[in-house]
Amino acid sequence: MSQKILVALDGSAGGKRALEAAAKHAMLTDSELILSYIIDWTPYSFHTPEELEERHQRRESEIQRANESVLEPEARALKDSGLSIQTVVRHGKIADALVDVANEFGVSQIFLGRLGESRLHSMVFGSVTSALLQNSKVPVTVVP
């Protein structure tokens, strides 16, 4: 049975580089690629009543945008490689959501690009990359 590799895309150059590396690896190992886009979201935020009302439509459009502007073009670009590809969009805390997707699809590896978070940002909010490294049950490859 072929293995699955999860790639975290966010529309940035780092994500693209991670995808390149993951694609190479997938060809060598005959693995399936899972392209994911995580929309940063927390259930513990504060909104106006109007925002609550619009939330459902906004969620739909966020998912659509992630698919149309990032996941689908990337998947199309890899069409000729013959790799088998799935895409998934999720809302959540980025590191936690990646771990959840990894569990759900039973992937054997995660690839992501370095996010280039500033030191201050990581100090205040914690680094997504290190949170993922701490929580992932499978090997994680961080592509610079």
Binding site: P43, F46, P49, E53, H56, R59, H91
Partner: protein
């Protein structure tokens, strides 16, 4: 059986509404023995401001006294005062009750709350743990991530109710009703949880989903549909429209002019009167900020305040607890006073009953259970289980009344034990402020800041409630909505400039008048809620609804 109950309820409703004006003449006979402060608070010397001081616990300083009026506001006031007085007297119609006055509207809300508590099998106790599990996301389906969470719905509804009343209203209640009022305040908060459960469940169940996916819900929708289901279509339409008009006008008064006015007063007080006569400027700035948020769609400002408001609420509670602990030696006496006052009511008009009525009244005015506003906010949440929204909403009266109001009462209570005269003549917000000031001299400044933010978040929430009343009446057209929003902004500015006392009184009265159709609807639809609730808990029990965490 049901038809009979229906007829009885309609008859009772008609009697309350239509007999009130003919009887209210007796109203003023009872009040000779009050001190000037009490009389003022009860609105006898100053009927134009009286109801408001009751509802919001605000005693306006000299700067906004009605004698100063000149020009347009005086004309408008003169024209509307008789109407306001009439509506106010009808809505807050008081019946003499063992030597004290009992407003019928409070009785109506409390009886409703008792009934729903019993009928739903003490859902306020049974559902409490489950409410916390829901808010924590234990039952949240990972696939619905990105939709409105239970926490978000709760936070939004709470910031609509937590306001200046939690700070000042409690002080007024303790002044008039004695320490014992606190006990009854907690009891009423506890009962109000059941009313909230019923109205929020119905809000979600009967909301209207439009083709583009957006939803509108609230009492006007469940009143219309619920009565239609019982073959009383015409009555339901009438009740729905009546509710919508009430919430719309209420949104311009209680939820708008009153708030911007109080924000201005707080700013002016804390700056030592530096803003005297600059109401127009403060009003314009506030109107501009509200305009940017509700019309400009710049949600970030709203988001900032929506974040700061819970923070301020927590900040307030933490400091309140510190102040209470600094007076630790007086805590036992303060608590003893609350219990003894609740049953003996020494030195209070009307004795223990007086304390009880005042406590109930404060709780009802504070947590809005029975008014139906939270139901509008909760309706926006997408869920397959209306009951879950109801259960989460149980926590609103708990947070608003049982936690925040009680803490305020204890701050005042402990200060009173230490120094019965700590506040001098101060009442309302100033009294609470004085209790804090005994320990932290700088406290009035953040307190005023908190009051302004509370006012702002209340305005944002109520602009939405009013909008839903408007769209119910005039349709969902974008132009119509923008007309409403412009009107709303204009009233924000007006609130700081003109003292439209009678208009505010009409608005206050209407907000409490709409609890009449709302609670009536809740009685009719309670069996629907009970069925949903029983089925929901059965499915939890059987494991059909699973925890995801």
């Amino acid at each position: 059986m049901y038809a009979k109950l229906t007829r009885i309820l309609i008859a009772a409703f008609s009697i309350v509404v239509f007999s009130a004006p003919t009887v209210f003449a007796q109203d003023t006979s009872q009040q000779e023995s009050l001190s000037p402060t009490q009389a003022w608070i009860q609105g006898i010397e100053n009927p134009n401001l009286g109801y408001r001081s009751w509802i919001h616990g605000i005693v306006p300083p000299e700067s906004i006294s009605i004698e100063k009026q000149t020009g347009i506001d005086a004309t408008i006031n003169a024209a509307t005062a008789p109407v306001a007085e009439f509506i106010g007297k009808v809505v807050f119609f008081k019946i003499p009750f063992f030597g004290t006055d009992l407003p019928v509207v409070v009785l109506w809300l409390v009886i409703g709350a008792v009934f729903f508590t019993v009928y739903m099998g003490f859902i306020n106790l049974r559902g409490f743990k489950h409410a916390i599990e829901l808010v924590r996301g234990d039952y949240a389906d990972p696939k619905s991530k990105g939709e409105v969470s239970h926490f978000q719905a709760l936070a939004t509804a709470v910031s609509g109710t937590v306001g200046i009343g939690n700070i000042g209203g409690v002080a007024v209640a303790v002044t008039v009703g004695g320490a014992g009022a606190t006990f009854w305040l907690i009891v009423a908060g506890f009962l109000g949880m059941s009313t909230k459960f019923v109205e929020c469940t119905l809000g979600v169940k009967y909301r209207n989903e439009f083709d583009d996916g957006h939803v509108s819900g609230g009492p006007m929708y469940y009143l219309r549909q619920g009565f239609a289901e019982r073959n009383m279509e015409g009555f339901g339409k009438f009740m729905g429209s009546f509710y919508a008009i009430g919430i719309f006008i209420g949104a311009l008064g209680i939820g708008n002019m009153f708030q911007s006015n109080q924000a201005y007063v707080q700013l002016n007080n804390v700056s030592g009167g530096a803003l005297d006569g600059l109401g127009w400027l403060v009003g314009l700035i506030m109107a501009a900020v509200v305009f940017i948020v509700i019309i400009g769609g710049i949600k970030s400002i709203a988001r900032v305040t929506e974040k700061i408001v819970p923070f301020m609420a927590v900040f307030y509670c933490v400091f309140a607890i510190i102040v209470i602990l600094m007076n630790a030696n007086t805590i036992p006496q303060a608590i003893a006073n609350i219990f003894s006052g609740a049953f003996t009511g020494e030195g209070v008009t009307g004795g223990a009953l007086g304390a009880m009525i005042i406590g109930f009244q404060r709780a009802v005015f504070s947590n809005e259970a029975g008014i139906g506003s939270a139901s509008i906010a909760h309706s926006a949440v997408r869920t397959n289980e209306p009951v879950t929204e109801g259960i989460v909403s149980l926590l609103e009266p708990f947070i608003d009344t049982i936690v925040i109001c009680t803490i305020t009462a204890l701050v005042i209570g402990t200060a009173q034990v230490a120094d019965p005269n700590f506040a001098g003549d101060a009442v309302g917000v100033a009294m609470t402020s004085a209790a804090f000031e005994r320990e932290f001299t700088w406290f009035p400044i953040p307190l005023a800041f908190a009051a302004v933010l509370f006012a702002f978040s209340t305005m944002v929430s109520w602009s939405y409630y009013g909008l839903k009343g408007w769209t119910y009446l005039f349709g969902e057209g974008v132009n119509g909505q923008n007309i409403y929003k412009l009107l709303f902004c204009a009233f924000v500015a007006l609130g700081c400039v003109v003292q439209l006392g009678p208009i505010l009184d009409i608005s206050d009265a209407l907000v409490f008048l709409i609890c009449v159709p709302n609670i009536l609807g809740l009685y009719f639809l309670a069996p629907v809620v009970k069925r949903e609730m029983d089925s929901y808990f059965a499915r939890i029990q059987s494991g059909e609804i699973k925890k995801f965490k």
